[in-house]
Amino acid sequence: MSGKDRLAIFPSRGAQMLMKARLAGAQKGHGLLKKKADALQVRFRMILSKIIETKTLMGEVMKEAAFSLAEAKFTTGDFNQVVLQNVTKAQIKIRSKKDNVAGVTLPIFESYQDGSDTYELAGLARGGQQLSKLKKNFQSAVKLLVELASLQTSFVTLDEVIKITNRRVNAIEHVIIPRLERTLAYIISELDELEREEFYRLKKIQDKKKIIKDKAEAAKAAMIAAGKDVGDIANLLDEGDEDLLF
């Protein structure tokens, strides 16, 4: 499995410290991201239930509005052309605001009425009441549509972000942290091995020194026995001490 190896780094104590710090950082990051993902999920579910509710309500409101259109047509006659020919600009406009959820900006749409009602006097001589009821019904339908639009964009955006965040959480949990742990284990094992080697070298030198010392003692004893040497006499020209080995 590629990518799950350890990092290529020279094993040393400094490197070990570095790796430890990085591991701690990765674990902290993992915890924080998990919290973010959970917060987003909560918001996501809330939006989902609201969407379902709004959509069913929408069905009824549209049915009501279409029926009031039929009623108005019955009383007023055909007013299609009156409306179509008099249209200049939109009466209901939308402003977008930003809402922040755990660091994710979601757009919220808000509708407002721009200018006065140009069709105030339509149906003056016939069917005015039905027309005003019709206008009210369709206005509420538009408001509901705007709300639904906000909810749906939030839904889509949140979905994206949740996917990304979850991907990152999983990456940290299953790739980064194991890799760091492996690296750390490798460094520790290398350091241990170096220490063992060092220890072995020291031991070997100690043994060798002992053999040389024993040999020197034996030669000295032989010389003293033959009456040629007089034993240890301090010599001013001697330099330093012997190596001090435990």
Binding site: F67, T75, V82, Q85, N86, E120, L121, R126, G128
Partner: protein, 348 residues
């Protein structure tokens, strides 16, 4: 119009008109229609009536707007046949009837030209009964005032403009106010014309037109509450040929809410009866429904007398009401909203 000499010019047409009137849907037909589940059923039931196979060539699925168009087409053909075969004074009478559609068409063309829509788009949207020769020439004008000077002076509607609207008014006024002012002038002119014909025609038509004038005055008053229409402007829109003139109209001009309007109507027996049953609750009939019913009953009574022109006017209005009823029932069936399907206005 003496009975004996009426038939020389008008006999064939009156007979034809009464024949058409017999083809108007009866209550049993409506009962069949409200029980339909789909528009195809509706089409099948209509085939058994006077309408015959008028929807035969339409591709399915059927739409309510198609039904609406076809109903209107049939009515237009019948009316134009009557018009083509008529002589004076019946032809002027029938022309007067078409002026109301002409007013609607002109208003449509004015608004369309004001917003720079191409004329070829607007012409098909006009009501066929209200077409006049100068329609094509309207695109030369850019403002309503120019429009008037260039085109409208030659139409039969010119006198209605002259009486009440000046050039500057055309540019400034709200289009709905122009429409209602024209209609007021039209109604008063029609009333004078019928009075001048005299005899049974005057009896029948003047009653119908008086009711129409009063109905418009009441409805305009009620609908203008809460809008920017001032009381003076409103008073200028009341036609003066009805029973409410002059005291009732003056009282209406001063009214501020629905209760005051109802109080004015109390003075007139027929109108107080209409206000009685009306209400805005869910189960009640609205005031407009009551007005429609009264209009239908007046039109039906016109057929009780012979040798007068009122039958043509009544026939057209009854046929229009029938079209509206059928479209209403079709909408209820198509939208599966059967709660108010019985809200059509029964004719016979």
């Amino acid at each position: 119009m003496k009975g004996c000499i009426f038939n020389i010019d008008g006999g064939y047409l009156e007979g034809l008109c009464r024949g058409f009137k017999c083809g108007i849907l009866k209550q049993s037909d409506y009962l069949n229609l409200v029980q339909c589940e789909t528009l195809e059923d509706l089409k099948l039931h209509l085939q058994g009536t006077d309408y015959g196979t008028f929807l035969a060539n339409e591709p399915s699925p059927l739409a309510v707007s198609t039904i609406d168009d076809k109903l209107r087409e049939k009515l237009v053909i019948e009316f134009q046949h009557l018009r083509n075969h008529s002589v004076e004074p019946l032809s002027t009478f029938l022309d007067f009837i078409t002026y109301s559609y002409m007013i609607d068409n002109i208003i449509l063309l004015i608004t369309g030209t004001l917003h720079q829509r191409p004329i070829s788009e607007l012409i098909p949207k006009c009501h066929p009964l209200g077409s006049f020769e100068q329609m094509e020439a309207i695109h030369v004008a850019a403002t309503p005032a120019e429009l008037y000077n260039a085109v409208l002076v030659d139409t039969p509607l010119a006198p209605f403009f002259v009486d009440c609207i000046s050039e500057q008014d055309l540019d400034e006024m709200n289009i709905e106010i122009i429409r209602n002012t024209l209609y007021k002038a039209y109604l008063e002119a029609f009333y004078e014309f019928c009075k001048q014909i005299g005899g049974t025609t005057a009896d029948v038509m003047c009653e119908i037109l008086a009711f129409e004038a009063d109905r418009r005055a009441i409805i305009i008053t009620i609908n203008s509450f809460g809008t920017e229409l001032s009381k003076d402007d409103r008073a200028k829109l009341y036609p003066r040929c009805g029973k409410l003139n002059p005291d009732g109209l003056a009282a209406l001009a001063r009214a501020d809410d629905y209760e005051q309007v109802k109080a004015v109507a109390e003075y007139y027996a027929e109108y107080s009866a209409l206000f009685e049953g009306a209400g805005s609750n869910v189960g009640d009939k609205t005031l407009e429904d009551k007005f429609f019913e009264h209009e239908v009953s007046l039109n039906v009574h016109a057929f009780l007398q012979q040798f007068h022109f009122g039958v043509f006017y009544s026939y057209l209005k009854l046929k229009e009401q029938e079209c509206r009823n059928i479209v209403w029932i079709s909408e209820c069936v198509a939208q599966k909203h059967r709660a108010k399907i019985d809200n059509y206005i029964p004719i016979f």
